[in-house]
Symmetry: C2
Subunit: 454 residues, 2 copies
């Protein structure tokens, strides 16, 4: 049966590209309220499109941009697959750096250029097209499918958890699928089985009640910028190992077979560093670059501010200084525990001569999906079918909170099947998606439904 | 003879206040080119005013705003006194915080409110009024006087050294007088015999060629903000003692009698700290607050920047981080040597995983005037006459580069006779000058001419 579906996908390549162009034309920028109606229009098109291909669909309002929900539940007894995606996109700015306009999808050299091409419209649409192909060819699917396509991923998915919590029965499933991540490299399809979590905070050091003349006062009061430097310097040793008591507690170490597998991955350190303008890597001793970025926790300073940062010198003792800090967490860590360790450590470093404010943002635990589950086996086979190659099994250093939510709330694993590439310029001008990957992803998705039904 | 002059000053109080109002009405803001003509108008008024009171005067153009030069050399054999001052003022912003407009001088509670009232129009004008009084009463002065009133003090005095260098003979003198600093406190006139010097630089740490996604890269590259924190933290120990090799080399220690004198000064640490919103002081162990701010060198971070400093978190490894640093120097240190010590220290702390840029700004050595010279004795007596009180002998932590220039170029000491108060809101809205101090300063200046002639 699958062969007929794959043949349909091949013969409808041009049609599917037209559908992709259509959805890419909506400037569904969630961060900017002036695009509110465009998000509604995009959601509306998507709902109708789901209905056109034979699913029931609805637009579910939230406190922000709506969620599009669609389902086909005509395979009783078969597993139920939940596909998550997002129809909102990053702002297209800076506009002048786009070769062709961000919302006028244009094909060049086998790639489609538009904001949202790879993140995430092009990627989630492969599953829609796979469903469409099954429905057109056979009038049914081998599994039940549900789609949750939200409109707020790029602004923090603030209303997604509320929706899932309130609709647990509706979204109940056996396994989730998300295509919102990259392949390991060009021609190197991958399944991401691990993600890092996140903890974010901001620490502000308050000194004098105003910027002081450094001549009149300098030397007689604690300088908040200097003190912040002391506190931040105490977070790592000079080799990059974290010095915060309790920070590494509970960290689940990498399996030996994972380390062996990562060592065997095609990876050119020099190219990796060269791309980001560096000659020398850096990080926790005893780990490779991929281990460091995928499976080891971090404390990163994301921003620093104090005093005068304009042109030339200014002779002041600044009134305050702050640092924005995020931690990437690995399995075994919780945002709460990491937050307490970090805050305790910083307070211990603080002097009585200054005052410290500690502000906490969101947190999210890491995710680790069982590499040996039948779902994973099905995904491997599906990718082999779609891409003609066995996928690599990798982790990613980033955070996709919904993966953790789906696990905690619905008890299901998520298959992270990336069809994009890190070089697709996501969040940057000239975002694009390789049309061959759009096609291969659609075929892999079609095959996945067969494999999951087994 | 002096008694007649003092009587003249008393009986002309109202006239002298009118003259002060007149000069304060010129919006001679040197930082903003739209006030260029106002500076010229102010210089012009000043030149004419010098001529009106019996001096020869000229306006000397510079690459920037002109210098007003005036002299009366009718006392052959008597010493020559050079008075330095500046007719330019700080910008008056924020305008909405002024109770009455910055350039509409207004008297309230015995104080005159206007930009420039204390810094420096009101203060240098006391010497002009003293000269005027001598000339009116006796048709002559007991000493020769020269005035150098520049128009660029608030923007770095860029053309002053060039003028002095090119006019060494014209400005030759035996002693210089500057009233551009405060009394020790209300009712506590003082002579400032020491000033700190200055060294300014900026250090930038370059990491990746762009801000990186902290999920994809975090942990595998050196974070420039973290590294900058390490480098800055290494400048001081946690007690505030500087750890830069060679930094304290050559520092001339405080005399025992200076430390004794400072300890005897009226000083309430609690009030000092309370005014700036602090409960606890901080600084180099083994020194008091006044010693720390007047006579010990410092390294202050004046500004810090890296990555994202807007609202909320942003998950990046920043591309670069910088710090603005100034050092206050004390006698025995040179900007060049301090700069080399600092740069060498920072480079030693730097990692091969990052790149450091070091940018140097201006520098200036500290000044220390002989407390036991006859000029100092004359100034003490003059202040006793004008203010009815012995002056305190203090240092200031700030930097007045012209003092060092006058010493190096003309070989003369400067008497720093402050008539203002730290609470006069100089550089802030509602700048003011106490009219009684304007009067007392004028009398002290009139007496100084007598004392210097002895």
């Amino acid at each position: 049966m699958l062969n007929d579906v794959q043949a349909y996908i091949d013969s409808n390549e041009a049609v599917f590209i037209e559908d992709l162009k259509t959805i890419l034309k909506f400037p569904s920028v969630s961060a900017d309220s002036k695009f509110k109606q465009d998000l509604l229009n995009c959601a509306d098109w998507l709902k109708k499109h789901f209905e056109d291909i034979g699913l029931t669909a609805e637009i579910i309002p939230t406190a922000g941009h709506p969620i599009v929900y669609a389902e086909w539940l005509g395979a009783p007894g078969a597993p139920t697959v939940l596909v998550y995606g997002h129809y909102d996109v990053q702002p297209p700015d800076p506009l002048n750096l786009w070769t062709t306009p961000a919302f006028e999808p244009t094909i060049r050299d086998g790639k489609i250029y538009a904001r949202g091409a790879t993140d995430d419209k092009g990627q989630f649409l492969t599953h829609v097209k796979a469903v469409q192909s099954w429905m057109k060819v056979h009038g049914k699917l081998p599994v039940n499918v549900k789609f949750v396509i939200e409109g707020e991923e790029e602004v923090g998915s603030n209303n997604l958890d509320l929706f899932l919590e309130a609709n647990k029965k509706k979204v109940a499933c056996d396994v989730a699928v998300i295509s919102d991540c990259p392949q390991y490299g060009p021609g190197l399809p991958a399944i991401t089985y691990g993600l890092r979590g996140m903890y974010a905070c901001e620490v502000t050091i308050h000194g004098p009640n105003r910027d002081l003349h450094s001549g009149a006062y300098g030397g007689s009061v604690a300088n908040p910028a200097t003190y912040l430097a002391h506190m931040l310097a105490s977070l790592h040793d000079k080799q990059g190992k974290i010095q915060v008591a309790g920070f590494y507690d509970g960290v689940i170490p990498l399996d030996d077979d994972e380390r062996t597998a990562y060592a065997a991955l095609p990876f050119d350190e020099k190219t990796y560093l060269n791309d980001i303008g560096l000659k020398v890597g850096f990080g926790e001793p005893g780990f490779t670059t991929n281990e460091r970025r995928w499976a080891r926790p971090t404390i990163e300073i994301n921003g620093l501010y104090s005093g005068y940062i304009g042109e030339g010198p200014k002779t002041i003792v600044p009134s305050y200084a702050f640092a924005k800090i995020t931690c990437r967490l690995v399995p075994g860590q919780t945002p709460h525990e990491v937050g307490r360790s970090l805050e305790t450590h910083l307070r211990q470093q603080c002097s009585i001569a200054i005052r410290m404010d500690f502000k906490e943002y969101h947190g999210c635990e890491a995710s680790l999906v069982d590499r040996h589950s039948p779902y994973m086996a099905a995904a491997k086979k599906a990718i082999k079918t779609g891409f003609g190659k066995e996928p690599l099994l990798i982790r990613e250093g980033g955070t996709i909170p919904v993966v953790k939510t789906l696990k905690d709330m619905l008890g299901v694993d998520t298959l992270l099947l990336g069809w994009g590439l890190n070089s697709d310029c996501l969040h940057s001008p000239n975002e694009h998606f390789t049309l061959a990957d759009y096609q291969r992803g659609t075929k892999a998705s079609a095959a996945l439904f067969t494999e999951l039904a087994k």
